[in-house]
Symmetry: C2
Subunit: 354 residues, 2 copies
Amino acid sequence: MTAALQNDLLLRALLRQPTERTPVWMMRQAGRYLPEYRATRAQAGSFLDLCKNTELACGVTLQPLERFPLDAAILFSDILTIPDAMGLGLYFAPGEGPKFQRPVRSEADIAALSVPDPGAELRYVTDAVSLIRRELRGRVPLIGFTGSPWTLATYMIEGGSSKNYAYAKGMLYDRPDLMHRLLDKLAQSVTAYLNAQVAAGAQALMMFDTWGGILTPAAYREFSLRYAEQIIAGVTKQNEGRDVPLVFFTKGGGPWLEAMAGIGAHGLGVDWTQDLGDARRRVGDRVALQGNLDPSVLYATPEVIRQHVADALASFGHGHGHVFNLGHGIHPEVQPEHAAAMIEAVHELSPAYH
Amino acid sequence: MTAALQNDLLLRALLRQPTERTPVWMMRQAGRYLPEYRATRAQAGSFLDLCKNTELACGVTLQPLERFPLDAAILFSDILTIPDAMGLGLYFAPGEGPKFQRPVRSEADIAALSVPDPGAELRYVTDAVSLIRRELRGRVPLIGFTGSPWTLATYMIEGGSSKNYAYAKGMLYDRPDLMHRLLDKLAQSVTAYLNAQVAAGAQALMMFDTWGGILTPAAYREFSLRYAEQIIAGVTKQNEGRDVPLVFFTKGGGPWLEAMAGIGAHGLGVDWTQDLGDARRRVGDRVALQGNLDPSVLYATPEVIRQHVADALASFGHGHGHVFNLGHGIHPEVQPEHAAAMIEAVHELSPAYH
């Protein structure tokens, strides 16, 4: 038996139902800006060891909730768990970001990939989801997440982060058939992965399309958005008698919000290069919006932070369907007190808009 | 006496006058993808040595024109010459991009900066412009260029490239007064610098706002666009009896094209995340557009490249005011034959639109 949900603001906001105030959480809220996270991370060994240790992953997921009155928890994990489960050999070189021992470059490489079984190779993720749900005891909903097929493909093909995406873009332009074969396997994998997270207890979902914004408008529709839509069509819509809302976030995707609003996602993440009010006018009442404070605002003083929170709330304006968040993950250099100032300002200033 | 200009397609297109075909040049056309560039670079010593050596800078400027039927030359230099002339100590650490020995972080640092004299500290640039004009013998126009104040400020404050722009964004949000003081000095410096380039023979100008796209819409207007407009107001409008058109390019600035079209620039650079036809509809007949093939298309085969050139030309459509270019600098890994395929396709396919 899972405990009844005491704070469902996030779920209601994503379904564009009335709320008393604007819910708030932060991308990467369990992360390096918190000293208690850094301590657990040191104890765990590598970043990947931390992701794969159910108890510690649960522990760091809950850390920001002990400090701040946040309206959601988000599973502590990495977007690259699926390619790792496909056998690509994920590792994190110090100061260099994620790397794969065996990048995917050829037709044979793609043919050799199989869709991972979420109950086997990815069991550590669903175990963490179940444990976090128990430990949350219904305080706030738990968000599960995944990378988008296109974003996963860029890392898999490049073998890590990239500046110019020479291999991924080369394949996209030269062998679109191969790229589609890869993206189709990834879409199947992501669908099964998200459904396993929901079955284990995830109450909302996020799909991070971190690198969709490097595409042309036509390539974005063909190689990113199309697979996001396919996944959303296959994802469990209800669990434990409640809707399971999904938020789709393409960093740099501001120019394409209208198209993104039509793929069946309940909410869209918006980065700080968009004005929230403009974004709302463009998507109408088709989706909720999540965002979009410039994470760098948290480098400023609490007074300045409060003013920018006020501006963002005013820009979205009156009515429902807004989840307050940063426009990207919180930066590691930010002082936790500055995050607290942002969250406090949302609590204080947002009821006037509802 | 300078030779009469034999090919003025670029100048006419930027002034939205009729042309027989679409002119074409490439950002970073004098660069690492050319073996002859790499040979000169090895001979010069450091990248900065190459920029400061008048003969060699002239030589690499002309190299791509020997290979390809391009419609413009662009001065070989770096966007960080102004901060270097201000005494910040520019250097290029191998594999790490530009760095400054003395970053600008405090009120005192900013107060100590003075506007460089283009005839003294930056004389090597105007000398190169004069020499290139002589060596071009009127074949095509020479484009001079600068970084935008905001873009220069980010490098000066961070001390180099950056991921999160913690120092620059921190100053912007916490001490906007200081940021404005710095940007004002940079705007004065850029104006004098561009005017010196025109006096030395530059026939068109580009302002690269490489990092404008990391700002919020409001901060973009206040900290980037406003200073670009101030510079354009102060730049020489005619020289040698001809208009000197200026192109303003904010990478990632697609959401703000309407605002960019109103600052007095003759042309706007457009990156590949925008559809050219949409961009044209948004700016109307206020400005010419320059762009916007995804530089990664050049990783593909000549046949694929040709198709993407055809798509870009069709997207802009019939009429004048288009300068064909990549949406960003050509990547170092590209084969020169692939650049040739792009340029040839523009020559062959664009007359049908004029």
